[in-house]
Amino acid sequence: MTIILGTAQLGFIYGLLALGIYISFRVLNIPDLTAEGSFTFGLAVSSVLATAGHPWIGLLAAVAAGCLAGIVTGLFQIKCHIHPVLAGILTMSGLYSVNMFVMGERANITLIGIDTVFTDVASLIPSVDKNIVKLIIAIVLTLIGTVLAVMFFRTHLGLCIRAAGDNETMVRSSSINVDYVKVIALAVSNAFIALCGGVIAQYQNFADINSGVGILVVGLASVIIGEVILGKKSVTIGLVSAVTGSIIYRIIIALATTYTPLSAYMLKLVSALIVAIALSVPAIKQTILLQKTKKGGV
């Protein structure tokens, strides 16, 4: 029971990460490595503020921190003309120092015994089991995030972002400033990712400077698993499927650690393989088709 609850809780919380990754990877068409830095940035800001007695403000600050990280990457791209992937790597790398500074030059912060958004809500409804409360908070936060993201992509600005990832020339010829649109998209994407980090810190009562390592792959795996199940017909479906993918990803991880001899440290390798295999499906299909054609029967 605890495993199921824990898996669901993580699945929903990391759904916020999947939303952010979906926006940069699928909508904007950039694998944005800023994620690894902004996730920890959100985590750091949130845990420091929670320690100071402001867990809710901590989450808001995490959102702001993510926006900031996204804007920096965006400016690297559009003002300095740095390759999108490299721009993300630069921000990620620089954020390591920033995060260390935010955490008061400590590599980790423990929040045990400190008020978090989870203990806050739990104390309001003492009759409900704490793990259920955690799940409810996780669901509510991710639901709000998903609804806001869906609504955002139905606005004019949202449409501009989608078009910018699809055909930049066309957006420019429609008299829209593509540069500005890209920066906004990266800000929104990283805001979700940093919020996820902020919630995770308070959820696990622990913040570590290395929490962001490999987080992009986790997000990509969620997005891709979601697409396999729900498809990618529209942005709305894409966003919902990203969250769904995150939950299924956590289930896979839970099953793998419970029923196979895989240790927890193997999970990053498993995640990387999931993404690599999923992304190579089109190429594999093509090869199979070619083999069939060569043999003369299609």
């Binding site: 078009a163 699809d166 957006v171 420019r172 429609s174 008299s175 829209i176």
Partner: protein, 273 residues
Amino acid sequence: MSGNEKIMLKIDNAVKTFFKGLPQEHTVLNNLSLELKEGDFVSVVGSNGAGKSTLFNAICGTFFLDGGAVLLDGKDITYQPDFRRAKWIGRVFQDPMKGTAPNLTIEENLALAYSRIKKHALAPAISSKEIKLFRERLATMEMGLEDRMKTKVGLLSGGQRQVVTLMMCTLNTPKLLLLDEHTAALDPQTSEKIMEITNRIVKENNLTTMMITHNLNAALTTGNRTIMMDEGNIILDIHEEERKGMSLEDLLNMYSQKSNRVFDNDRILLQKK
């Protein structure tokens, strides 16, 4: 009519050199000057590398000129960023993929183009009023696209995509319409249909238009003016009256006289339909 005398586009001594200071230095626009009156429909012809597309790029701001000026409706836009001036300039490329976003639906593509008129960032992407307008406009194209508003543009044929692009460029009446061999990638029948639609839209809105074409016959019969380019400049500028009795041979002879070369566009179409 006094309205006809308004100068819509003025290019003054445009100069552009690529790879300046390098062995492959190449002057693509060589002191080119051109004036278009409001409502002018100009066909542009020229041999390979004459600078036709470069001229369009200069007008659109794909790059900035090394010298000279571009004035649109009296306003100096020489150093205005491309996306700013795109508000008043519509451009249809030869490649049907370039003008539309394949993963967006027809109505989304149109809505984006229509937003050239100021739209609030957080306003709904498409209003029902807009959908109605798009449907009506698409219906006039007679291609059945009005019933496929929610189809992703990537699923349309090249001709259909060019129609959508053409509509995107003219939903808000532009001050200048640039057609860069916009029918060249299409089969003859579709090409003819697109030209028909083009002519109608240009006429209805009295659009100032420039059209690059490699169909010399079309160049002589479309619009009211034909210009011929060579080595980054305009070597022939033939207006309505002068153009009337002109044959393809006359045009080619004039070209040879002016440039001392034989017209050598490898894609040129000489045949009469």
